[in-house]
């Protein structure tokens, strides 16, 4: 019998479709950087307010060992904070989905906790845990874990009722429904939450360092700012941005491997394919 035509695969799409995805943002960034360099070189703004891009890069190169040392500290803080938010957020999300009493008990508290401005409670965490690593980890965790919980809940709930009925008709139990259907089905949403959390964890670590620390990139920003070393401030921001981007992309790469089925289907849709 004639099998009706299959949908084209994303990896068979013309190469131009892939190139433009990277080319366009790169071009826009380069234009912005060129404008920045031109404006500062022309002396239109004081270098105390906005140093030129080249002088910032120069500072970054000169202070590279210091920046790396501070980066390692800040990265440790936000990675641990992020890890903790995943370790707590995923099981909590699953518990909320599976237990009505727990949902009733935890959900309002969770939302209230999310509304509390974490930067405002950060000093309390410092009082509790001291000025070392653990207070920064806790603040990063506090800021990052909400999207992990929420997206886990949304993801686990998004399974089609038919699919769950199907598993039951195969004699599947609750655990099998979770393992074969709910969890894999939730992964795209969970990764969405992880990506948001990854950027928030960086913010959390910096907030912690701003409040009280004697090392880390956030601490260095404060010190440099106090010394009116705007170039170093910008160099720190540059490092932080790089760290954030690397972290984000690592998660995106893991996502591409783990939920390849979803990423490919989404790409196909974005490029005007799909049925």
């Amino acid at each position: 019998m004639p099998a009706d035509s299959a949908v084209p695969r994303a990896d068979r799409l013309p190469w131009t479709a892939h190139v433009t995805t990277y080319l366009y943002p790169t071009l826009v960034t380069l234009v912005l950087f060129a404008a920045w360099e031109a404006v500062t070189r022309a002396g239109m703004v004081s270098s105390l307010i906005l140093p030129s891009l080249s002088s910032i890069l120069q500072t970054a190169v000169v202070k590279f060992p210091l920046l790396m040392q501070m980066s390692a500290i800040t990265a440790t803080e936000f990675l641990l904070g992020f890890g903790l938010s995943v370790a707590v957020g995923l099981p909590l999300g699953a518990l909320i989905v599976y237990s009505r009493p727990l949902e009733t008990a935890f959900y309002p508290i969770l939302v209230a906790f999310q509304i509390v401005p974490k930067a405002a409670v950060a000093p309390i965490f410092i009082v509790w845990l001291g000025t070392g690593l653990s207070s920064k980890v806790l603040i990063a965790f506090a800021i990052a874990f909400f999207p992990v919980v929420i997206d886990t809940v949304v993801g686990l709930r998004s399974a089609q009722p038919e699919t769950i009925h199907l598993l039951h008709s195969m004699g599947g139990n609750q655990f099998q429904v979770f393992w074969y259907v709910r969890f894999p089905n939730a992964l795209p949403a969970i990764f969405g939450g992880l990506k948001v959390a990854s950027t928030l964890a960086v913010v959390g670590a910096i907030v912690g360092e701003f409040v009280s620390a004697e090392k880390g990139l956030g601490y260095l920003v404060l010190v440099a700012n106090g010394e009116l070393d705007t170039r170093l401030v910008f160099a720190c921001v540059l490092m932080l941005t790089l760290l954030g981007i690397i972290f984000y992309f690592i998660i995106e790469i893991i996502e591409k491997i783990v939920v390849r089925w979803h990423v490919s289907a989404r790409q196909l849709e974005a490029l005007g394919g799909g049925s």
Partner: protein
């Protein structure tokens, strides 16, 4: 319940003498939502003999899907009894292949692994079923697509995979809820021919839900016509057309008279108004 045509007892209908396989006796389903009781199914009695193909045709929302879900043990009856092979259905009935309008394929599994989901969930040995799964896929024209993902397939191909998944464990009973309802007309006709061919090969007991008069007659030994909600069985019609049936059977006088009977029934319900 009125019997319209005398049932032909011939070699063609060996199933006619077989004992009742599924017994639906005085079954009711009442949904309670926000204090209001909604009767979806109203005292339905219907028996399926072993190896018999019964179609249920009725308007949207008449409770025919609910009836199928109750037979599958996925939705409890409010009153009355459903028994399969003499045993009352109280939990999901697992010796059945269930196929829904939505194919309910797992997007993260390949075509072959979607078929083998049935085997995985039942805890059976994959190695014993893989060849059978490939053979089934070949029978529905999906050779070469074993390692494709669902998003690479068209709607008709996806529903064929769902059909294979419903057959791989060789169930005694097939329950289909508007399986071809979302397909285009041409694909749908092809699917009807394919389903007839597969059914003729092993004559499993079949409960087939549809809202297409044509499809109901074409496939079935008997057609149950359901009334609008609360769903009752208004008429049972024996379909005495030789098998295998061809698409052209639709133009025969006999087919036309069956279709007229059902249409007149729908008109009597006020569902079709030609003026």
């Amino acid at each position: 319940m009125t019997y319209v045509a005398a049932r032909a007892v011939s070699g063609e209908h060996a199933a006619a003498q077989a004992p009742d396989f599924v017994r639906i006796t005085n079954v009711e389903k009442i949904y309670k939502t926000r204090g209001r009781a909604l009767k979806a199914v109203d005292r339905i009695s219907l028996d399926l003999r072993e190896g018999e193909f019964v179609s249920i045709v009725g308007p949207s929302g008449c409770g025919k899907s609910t009836l199928m879900m109750m037979v599958a043990g996925l939705v409890p009856v409010s009153s009355g009894e459903i028994s399969i092979k003499g045993e009352t259905v109280r939990k999901p009935y697992t010796d059945a292949g269930v196929i829904f309008q939505r194919d309910a394929l797992l997007e993260w599994r390949t075509v072959l692994n979607n078929v083998l989901l049935q085997i995985d969930v039942r805890g059976l040995a994959r190695s014993k079923y893989e060849a059978a799964a490939r053979a089934l896929l070949a029978r529905v024209g999906l050779t070469g697509f074993e390692n494709s993902y669902p998003w690479e397939l068209s709607g008709g191909m996806r529903q064929r995979v769902a059909l294979c998944r419903g057959l791989i464990h060789d169930p005694k009973l097939l329950l289909m809820d508007e399986p071809f309802g979302a397909l285009d007309a041409l694909t749908r006709e092809q699917m009807n021919l394919d389903l007839q061919r597969i059914w003729l090969e092993n004559r499993k007991t079949m409960l087939f839900i549809t809202h297409s008069i044509w499809e109901a007659i074409f496939l079935a030994d008997r057609v149950a016509v359901m009334s609008p909600r609360p769903g009752r069985i208004a008429t049972m019609i024996d379909i005495d057309l030789p098998r295998p049936r061809r698409i052209s059977v639709r133009e025969s006088n006999q087919f036309g008279s069956y279709a007229t009977l059902i249409r007149e029934q729908f008109q009597a319900f006020g569902l079709l108004n030609e003026d």
